[in-house]
Chain length 276, copies 2
């Protein structure tokens, strides 16, 4: 007796999420907070991180390997929780599974929030070079002015744990001072690491500028797709969170557990995996 | 008519050098400066950089792949121009080719230079954890006091090009202030990136402290082995420098050409290669 899975109104498979490293945990955190009954498997490609300084072709190859790995774990949705990878994932389905990249929801939210249509995008060198945010924002708001700034030191500062630190404030000011004079009202945190040093970025722009967090934008998009039935909820009552890493890292395990603790009491299972 | 290669007093094959990225160019620069008649092939594993935050096992796997690649290019010596990789390369020959890692010569030079036997080692988190410098320095000077400090932001600062910059000075002071009070007279720059931000490190310690540069120590070791006949010089009169990268990077090509220009007018050939 076969049954048409798509006709069911529930789907107990996990949601798959990947990033090069710790940054995507800020997206996972928002998803876990908003969808506490879902199963998640997170892949951190820590053996090859970071992606933000690598070529488009290499980032594409790594992303496809990561998606294949998550498909082998039977996920119901694929979330690209890395902005650099998102610039090289063009499909909306991969082997019939819906794919979400962080740029679409982030660009849509920025376009919805701005009043004066002056938007800044902060990202890695690779993501800025790809130009995806500018294209997507202009698709929503053709007369917007989009300013971009690569901030290569933000990722290592976030990973070093120098959050809300005088040195991070100084570096934020160095990168962002020219944008300040451009009368921007909305800033896209175009790298999933950046919410970790949000306080330093806020100090430069002041309280009246909207900061767009990829995780918040993604959770909003996923919520809409649960409502429309595009993806179906887990109703098994069993919830698991698995974090799979391509390289072992005690530093990563401790930091991700610390970031997830405020939003979930589910025990995290850590695994070391190969995706090649 | 066969000829015994080892009885020749010349060897026109290239010297192979590898690092995860740009740091090893500071070693290549010293080698090119000291041995202008030699051929060099440099491998930068830019598709997987950096190594300093990765596990010992992963760094070992990557290093062996890199050495196999260089052997396929028929080199006469293998130089591990990355301190993190050097902590995981234990052999002194690989497929009969002599292997040089930067830790041995750096530790020997530090032990020779210190007067008060108080030595500091600055390196990546992975290299400090491996403990190789401390072991090798103590093998030379059993009663030395060796202090260690991981400096994770030095690599991205060097790659960002913020050399002799007020922010780099501040970060150097943050990492090194505790060492200053320990009356150290010798500091090992235990990462091949660190000579790029040498000025900031010097500003913290002052002019009377010896800074040990891996490239200088390595050139000294290679010079001794040319003299002893362990490796034989190129006498063909033809000199080539090849830089092979596992990921394309215009930023890397420009920066390495700029670092080598003061020591050599040989045209550099760039290639993109796979080592897997």
């Amino acid at each position: 007796m076969s049954e048409d899975l798509s006709s069911k109104n529930h789907d107990d498979r996990a949601i798959g999420v990947f990033d090069s490293g710790i940054g995507g945990i800020t997206v996972l955190r928002e998803l876990v907070k908003n969808f506490p009954n879902e199963n998640f498997i997170y892949l951190g490609d820590t053996a090859r991180l970071p992606y933000g300084s690598k070529s488009a072709e290499t980032v594409r190859n790594y992303s496809v390997q990561n998606m294949k790995f998550l498909m082998s774990r039977n996920v119901k949705a694929l979330i690209v929780a890395c902005n650099t990878a998102s610039t090289q994932v063009f499909e909306d389905h991969f082997e019939k599974c819906p794919v979400y990249n962080v740029i679409g929801p982030g660009a849509a939210l920025a376009a919805a929030k701005t009043k004066n249509k002056k938007i800044a995008v902060l990202a890695t060198r690779a993501a800025i070079k790809a130009g995806s945010y500018t294209q997507k924002i202009l698709a929503h708001l053709p007369d917007a002015e989009v300013f971009t700034q690569a901030c290569p030191l933000f990722v290592p500062l976030a990973e070093e744990g120098w959050h809300d630190d005088p040195i991070t404030n100084l570096i934020a000011f160095r990168y962002l001072q020219n944008l300040k004079s451009a009368d921007i009202d909305t800033v896209v945190l175009g790298c999933t690491h950046y919410p970790l040093i949000r306080t330093s970025i806020e100090k430069v722009f002041g309280p009246h500028v909207h900061l767009i967090d990829s995780g918040v934008a993604m959770a909003q998009q996923i919520g809409e797709d649960f409502n429309s039935g595009k993806i179906k909820p887990n109703q098994s009552g069993n919830v698991a969170i698995t974090i799979a890493l391509t390289d072992t890292s005690e530093h990563f395990e401790a930091l991700s557990a610390q970031l997830l603790a405020p939003v979930s009491s589910v025990q995290i299972t850590f695994e070391t995996v190969s995706v090649i």
